[in-house]
């Protein structure tokens, strides 16, 4: 096991990793920007280094300063969390070059999965169903030929993409040229890589992802699926649950089998998530996230497995302490993201000081947060303040528990997503379960119209 781990992140996930390290008896080093000096993730770590000013380019993405902090403090490993440098193969490589274990898969796998077109090709080769589509298209003419073959509507996607950037839906041939130019420009601006590929546009699919763990000795297990179909119009997830409701048993098993097969095929190690679009009885591989996900707690609560501890154990060379047969689930879990955002104004992020902070407690409720009464929300970072997770014996009991948890939550000083999420939970269609990714934007539009 490692002696000391540098946590290359901030916020709730930095605290989450700090908890896992401390429970494993591993010392921790936090990094922080000048804007985060008062943050809980700094307070709870054994050591902490300021790595730069508030803006992420100069602090949380500042590779030399972060690696330097790890070396100076005598760390033997780095946990990247999610976001920031978590899927940066170059960062993993530099860490490795300096004798630091990167807690995640190998740089080669990060790199292959990070390039969406490559990932799709590799998965197809491993027998994983992928959305009908092309490899990288050189220009708009090639895109037109391919789109005609696939049949409209299609999606233009950036191979370096993520978070919906460099992505455009095209419903008819005459829209293609403009969409191509826009997507290419956006991708170039966001990722310094303007390469695009074409994919069949699946209308209102469900977003279902499978959690896997793979050790460095050939051990691979899945920890079931999560339904992340409740996404804001920006495609950011807002409410997640596990298991996915109303999923045909055969389809569920197929998802799990495909995930473990693919994990083995690409030589994956550590924790990872394969994202699928599911529509009717069909599933299509979308992408593989080579890191811990924000929504990992819903899986932890029903499997009783600490995924972050497993990440660290795997990176330290340990074999998984369980096989697929040892894993079973209890009940249903649901997560709500409490963001400092205004749901009545396009989820515009809000910064400020939290005057009141009261989180829920009691049975079946887990809160992961880095904020507290009096904390400031800096303007530089992700707007997530907390994850509230509820577990119950059934989906309905988990939802009811979440409703009472949200009713107990009081955050003042900034606008949050708490009340909006409570409205979602109360909606009969959500309650029935199994909605697609188009549901939440439609709900939002209905709600806005009603106000």
């Amino acid at each position: 096991m490692f002696k000391k781990v540098l946590i290359a992140n901030r916020g709730e996930i930095a605290l989450r990793i700090n908890r896992a390290c401390h429970e494993l008896g591993v010392a921790t080093v936090a990094i922080f920007s000048e804007a985060d000096r008062q943050s809980l993730h700094v307070r709870h770590a054994d050591e902490a280094f300021c790595v730069g000013p508030g803006p992420v380019m100069r602090s949380y993405l500042n590779i030399p300063n972060i690696i330097s902090a790890a070396l100076i403090s005598g760390c033997d490993a780095i946990h990247p969390g999610y976001g920031f440098l978590a899927e940066n193969a170059r960062f993993a490589e530099i860490a490795s070059d300096h004798g630091l274990t990167f807690i995640g898969p190998t740089p080669a796998v990060i790199s292959a999965m990070g390039d969406k077109a490559t990932a799709k090709r590799l998965m197809a080769e491993a027998g994983v169903p992928t959305t009908p589509g092309s490899d990288i298209v050189a220009n708009v003419d090639e895109a037109r030929t391919v789109s005609a073959a696939i049949g409209y509507p299609v999606l233009l996607k950036a191979t370096a993409g993520g978070g919906g950037k460099g992505m455009r839906a095209v419903h008819a041939p005459e829209e293609l040229a403009t969409a191509f130019a826009t997507a290419q420009a956006e991708s170039e601006a966001s990722f310094k890589d303007g390469r695009l590929y074409v994919e069949k546009l699946i209308v209102n699919p469900r977003h279902i992802e499978v959690q896997v763990l793979a050790d460095e000795h050939g051990g691979v297990v899945h920890l079931g699926e999560r339904d992340c179909s409740l996404q804001k119009p920006s495609h950011q997830k807002l409410i997640e649950e596990a298991p996915a409701p109303h999923l045909d048993d055969a389809l569920r098993e197929r998802l799990h089998t495909i995930a473990t097969t693919a994990t083995r095929a690409v030589g994956y190690t550590n924790a990872g998530t394969l994202e699928f679009l599911v529509t009717g009885g069909d599933l299509y591989f979308m992408e593989m996230n080579t890191r811990i996900q924000v929504e990992h707690p819903v899986t932890e609560l029903i499997y009783g497995v600490d995924l972050v501890k497993e990440q660290i154990r795997i990176a330290a060379g340990e074999a998984l302490g369980f096989t697929q047969d040892d894993l079973n689930t209890h009940g249903h879990a649901i997560e709500v993201r409490v963001n400092a955002e205004d749901p009545n104004n396009n989820f515009a992020p809000a910064a400020g000081t939290l005057t009141t902070v009261v989180f829920p407690g009691g049975p079946g409720v887990r809160v992961d947060t880095h904020v507290y009464g009096g904390a400031t929300v800096p303007p530089f970072y992700d707007s997530m303040l907390a994850k509230i997770v509820a577990v119950g014996r059934t989906r309905e009991s988990a939802i009811v528990r979440m409703e009472r948890a949200l009713a107990e939550t009081r955050i003042e000083g900034v606008k949050t997503t708490v009340d909006f999420c409570a409205d979602v939970l109360a909606d009969p269609e959500f309650r029935a379960g199994g909605v697609g990714v188009a549901w939440l934007p439609a709900f939002l539009a209905r709600r806005t119209a009603a106000v």
Partner: protein, 142 residues
């Protein structure tokens, strides 16, 4: 104010300055006034990488009376302090902009410059000492 207090207050104020997103901050406290200005290049996210960022963040501290201007030179990288040989010492007069030390980060030596003349009133660090971003290295009486 002692140099320790100057350093501590300068760092605290620098944090507040950054959080607030302002370029200048002045605090009067009894007889003492501390003024901080953000170093011209150290603006929000403009620099693509820290090694190409301009010279160290500067914190200017003015104590009055007597009329005295102390400027604190801080590290803008995380690394190990390498003093010059012979090392710049307290009391040393500087006749203009010059190198005071290096901070070594992953084998790269990041020069620390005085950005003007004056008298070195305090050396906050010693050879081989690890420093974080924003950590005071030298105080210079202008």
């Amino acid at each position: 104010m002692t140099e320790d207090v100057i350093a501590a207050r300068a760092r605290a104020l620098a944090g507040a300055l950054t959080e607030a997103g302002f370029a200048r901050l002045r605090v009067r406290d009894g007889d003492t006034e501390i003024e901080l200005r953000r170093a011209p290049g150290a603006v929000s996210g403009a620099a693509p990488s820290p090694s190409s960022a301009p010279a160290a963040a500067a914190a200017e501290v003015a104590d009055r009376p007597p009329e005295r201007r102390v400027e604190v030179v801080a590290s803008d990288v995380v690394g190990i302090v390498r003093l010059l040989r012979p090392a710049i010492g307290e009391g040393q007069e500087l006749d203009g902009d010059r190198e005071l030390a290096y901070v070594e980060t992953l084998g790269i030596r990041n020069p620390v410059r005085s950005r003007g003349g004056g008298r070195v009133s305090t050396v906050f660090v010693s050879e081989g000492q690890p420093v974080e971003y924003g950590q005071p290295l030298f105080a210079i009486d202008r």
